[in-house]
């Protein structure tokens, strides 16, 4: 069974017909040729397919495309508005927060979404109380980013990059 949907991907309207079993991830990669979202496990366990979906970070392998008709999606490419690097991307480069680069688009989207969540007062497992928004310590960053796996082992640099970017517009 097929359905027609429209997605807004990195600012551009894209209409397509999809098999109703098609994941949002496969729709982006296979059907729309979007390379700035990656498939690492197809099970929501690695985070490589993370995008900002209607403003919140989400693993697109666990979303069916047909269920997101009309949604707005920002991938790592879309973070760089007008081709200008997002502060988070800049910080990833400065801190060499990547090696093979395959988890990187997902890490970036996750990091930006995570900063927004923290700013909105969402607690994490390591937050000591919910009375006030958590201060984004390294422990908080590590915990909140633990859904994005990096097998090259760039975590130390990823956390450093996020720490730096949070004060430089990294959440926007």
């Amino acid at each position: 069974m097929e359905a027609s949907i429209t997605l807004r991907v990195d600012g551009a309207e894209r209409s397509l017909r999809v098999d109703t079993r098609t994941t949002l991830l496969d729709a982006l990669r296979d059907r729309l040729g979007v390379t700035s979202v990656k498939k690492g496990c197809d099970h929501g366990q690695c985070g490589a397919c993370t995008v900002l979906l209607d403003g919140r970070r989400a693993t697109t392998c666990l979303a069916l495309a047909v269920a997101w008709d009309g949604a707005s999606i920002t991938t790592a490419l879309g973070l760089a508005a007008g081709g200008k690097l997002h502060p988070m991307q800049r910080a990833f480069l400065d801190h060499d927060a990547l090696q093979c680069g395959y988890c990187t688009p997902g890490q970036l989207c996750s990091a930006v979404g995570m900063l927004q969540e923290a700013r909105a007062g969402h607690p994490s497992f390591v937050t000591s109380g919910v009375a006030a928004p958590a201060e984004l310590t390294d422990d908080e960053i590590r915990e909140r980013m633990s859904g994005n796996l990096c097998r090259c082992g760039a975590y130390v640099n990823i956390v450093a990059a996020i720490r730096e970017a949070q004060g430089k517009g990294g959440a926007s």
């Binding site: 700035s36 991938t75 060499d96 090696q99 093979c100 395959y102 390294d138 796996l149 097998r151 130390v156």
Partner: protein, 705 residues
């Protein structure tokens, strides 16, 4: 710490003067990677691609008695279905791992028994589910035990090392020794799991086969494919643009490469895409064998080794042998008048084990370095002092002089930086709330490999830039950047004047990105070509000048043993109620020759240490011997370290130029970071708790018993 001495014979023009080398240039493919525009294998395939999904055996040994593919074939959108009955005959069974869909035989659970080609990935998956395969199951054997009666000695172990070695009467010396350690250590089956699944996009445009492949060596893939498929080398092009990690598992082609090629031949002109699923990577992409290692150390009361005995039992697949060289580091780490090392294999009905980051050194140095910690405790000696007392003057394995053995400097520098001197040697002395705190140390080592067989071509372009071509790979290691820096120094030009091309068999032949040999081997070829350019065309070669040169074996390898060394320090906290282990601090100090790019080198080293931390705390593929398969086959079951596991972790290195290994003065850094990391953590756990855990990983239940 600077390695002195005159210019080495192997580099007649001496060591390159570092101008670009040594600079922390930003990763050259970094911009494309943060934008998500760097293209990996699956993202190639112009036009309208077809998709392949694999059908895998559900028995571990036996024969396929019947395949009913009717329902699958009749599904709309299915292009073709390949089984052993319909696949064409392959040309060579020299590589048994690639000899697939050729008979009804099943060698392991998860083997490819059929493949569906379809118009979409959804249809391919659905059709694969509809294929019904019946088996005549035979008795299978997937149980690794040290007391099996059928263990055998392979002819050699991986990388061509002897299976066994013996110097002196190690057994007698052990029995006579005043202090003895006799322990058995185990490491589990582990899987590489690069984040990018193994992927091949194949296009068959007769007589030309193009593969966009996720590989550590385009030329190895081409050679194996040509042999197996019966094609000429010239018919095949392999392209590996960006590669999403490998860690050894993409060092050689696997069965899926052949399936993709065979499938492409069923759909000429169309790109055919095959990416392994994460679950399939547990049986079709290699893994590290589990090991059972009995380690015996005999010493004097003041900690001088008299005997070292390392007996390794591990597994191979029955259909194709792979023997991990686990005892090899034991042959060179410490001085002892007697020593015996031995590898024995159980041939089982399992997928083929293969390379995983620092094969041999990683499991072997876990056992050896925990054994040394046990000996230190038995002798009442500081573990660093024990290692220093057993420092060998020459390489015990080869009898050669050491080229650059700086283990002691690494240990001392690490001790200074880590605050080792404040350590109370008694275990279980430091507690903070529920946490027991301890620190531990272990040595690291990795051989310096320079592989011959790479060729670099340099051409002067009309704009004065240099086109540097070599079929090397960047699997996240920083090849694009490091080779550009090397080329710039060799050509005495700015990095902006170098136009590097890698990752394609249309480029000159290159050896594998494996064994930490890549930059050493490819860089040496580039330097040789640059020197040839100078020799033939003078200091200002004109546009169009072109030269090529090959990597040569370093001239002094017959005289000097060249190895890298390091020291790993770890602080752990163990929850006394839950047994949870955390690693708040880790430091590695390494002696690896000249660092080409400090920023990227640190990433490589801490990446290896992070994988070592992951190995120490989490990783194990749980094999159900009754069925012959891994049961925890996804990231929910097979845990790797996440950002929440890695806290203050850093790597530093000695300032050093290795004048005998490469004209760059470098030795290779991709693997040594993982070596010894798990041992340092296990030793720290002993220091924290007094509990000696000899079986990885250090999961909570092992600390609660």
């Amino acid at each position: 710490m600077m390695e002195g001495g005159q210019a080495a014979e192997g580099a007649p023009s001496g060591i390159l003067e570092p101008r670009a080398m040594g600079k922390s240039l930003q990763r050259m493919d970094g911009m494309a990677k943060v934008m998500g525009t760097a293209r990996y294998a699956f993202e190639y395939g112009p036009g309208s691609p077809a998709y392949v999904h694999l059908v895998q055996s559900t028995v571990a040994r036996g024969r396929i008695s019947r395949i009913d593919a009717g329902a699958a074939r009749s599904l709309a959108g299915v292009i073709a279905l390949i089984t052993h009955e319909t696949a064409g005959r392959l040309a060579s069974d020299e590589n048994r791992e690639l000899w697939i869909l050729q008979s009804d035989e099943v060698h392991f659970r998860g083997q490819v028994v059929a493949a569906v080609i379809a118009e979409s990935p959804e249809v391919a998956l659905q059709a694969a589910d509809l294929v019904e395969v019946e088996y005549e199951a035979a008795h299978h054997d997937a149980a690794l035990r040290a007391d099996r009666g059928d263990l055998y000695a392979p002819k050699t172990v991986n990388a061509g090392y002897p299976t066994d070695t013996a110097e002196g009467d190690a057994e007698a010396a052990f029995l006579a020794a005043e202090v003895k350690v006799d322990s058995t250590y185990t490491t589990p089956m582990e899987h590489n799991h690069p984040m990018e699944p193994h992927t091949t996009v194949a296009v068959w445009e007769p007589p030309k086969l193009t593969l966009y492949d996720s590989t550590q060596s385009v030329h190895s893939v081409r050679a194996a494919m040509a042999r197996t498929l019966g094609l000429d080398i010239g018919q095949i092009r392999v392209v590996a643009p960006s590669v999403g990690g490998g860690f050894g598992s993409k060092g050689e082609p696997h069965a899926h490469n052949i399936v993709a090629a065979v499938a492409a031949m069923q759909a000429p002109g169309r790109p055919v895409k095959l990416a392994l699923t994460r679950q399939q990577m547990f049986c079709l992409a290699g893994y590290r064998t589990p090991t059972i290692q009995r380690f015996r150390l005999g010493a004097t009361r003041d900690g001088r080794l008299l005997s070292i005995i390392h007996d390794v039992v591990e597994l191979t697949s029955r259909f194709k042998e792979f023997a991990e060289q686990t005892a090899v580091p034991t042959r060179l780490m410490y001085a002892s008048p007697s020593r015996r090392t031995r590898h024995r294999l159980a041939a089982l009905d399992l997928p083929k084990p293969s390379w995983m980051r620092a094969p041999g050194e990683t499991p072997g140095m876990f056992a050896g370095e925990v054994a040394m910690d046990e000996l230190a405790v038995a002798c009442g000696l500081d573990p660093i002092e024990l290692r220093i007392r057993n420092e060998p003057g020459r390489d015990p394995a080869s009898g050669k002089r050491w080229g650059n053995r700086h283990l002691v400097e690494c240990l001392r520098e690490g001790a200074r930086r880590f605050g080792w001197s404040a350590r109370d040697p008694r275990p279980g002395q430091r507690a903070e709330g529920n946490w027991l705190v301890g620190i531990g140390v272990a040595s690291a080592t990795y051989p310096r490999y320079v592989l011959v067989g790479s060729r670099a071509v340099i051409r002067v372009e009309s704009d004065g830039s240099y086109r540097v071509r070599i079929g090397a790979a960047d699997i996240g290691t920083g090849t694009w950047t490091a080779l550009t820096q090397i080329a710039a120094d060799a050509l005495e030009c700015p990095v902006e004047s170098v136009r590097l091309e890698i990752g394609d068999t249309d480029l000159p032949r290159a050896t594998v990105a494996g064994g930490s040999s890549g930059i050493s081997s490819w860089g040496s070829a580039i330097v040789a070509a640059a020197r040839e350019l100078r020799r033939l065309h003078g200091p200002r070669p004109g546009s169009g000048a072109e030269v090529s040169a090959e990597t040569r074996k370093p001239a002094q390898d017959d005289t000097f043993a060249q190895h890298s060394f390091g020291a790993q320090f770890a602080e752990v906290r163990v929850d006394r109620e839950t047994g949870e282990v955390r690693v708040p601090r880790m430091l590695g100090v390494f002696s690896v020759g000249r660092i080409i790019n400090p920023r990227l080198a640190r990433s490589q080293l801490i990446g290896g240490m992070t994988m070592g931390l992951s190995m120490a705390l989490h990783e194990q593929s749980v094999l159900d011997e009754r069925f012959g398969h891994v049961i925890n086959r996804d990231f929910a079951g097979y845990h790797i370290a996440t950002s929440a596991d890695v806290m203050d972790l850093d790597a530093v290195w000695l300032e050093e130029v290795d004048e005998r290994s490469t004209p760059m003065g470098s030795r290779g850094i991709g693997e040594i970071g993982i070596v010894g990391a798990a041992a340092a953590i296990a030793n720290a756990v002993h220091h924290a708790t007094g509990r000696r855990v000899r079986d990885l990983p250090l999961t909570p239940e092992k600390l609660l018993v």
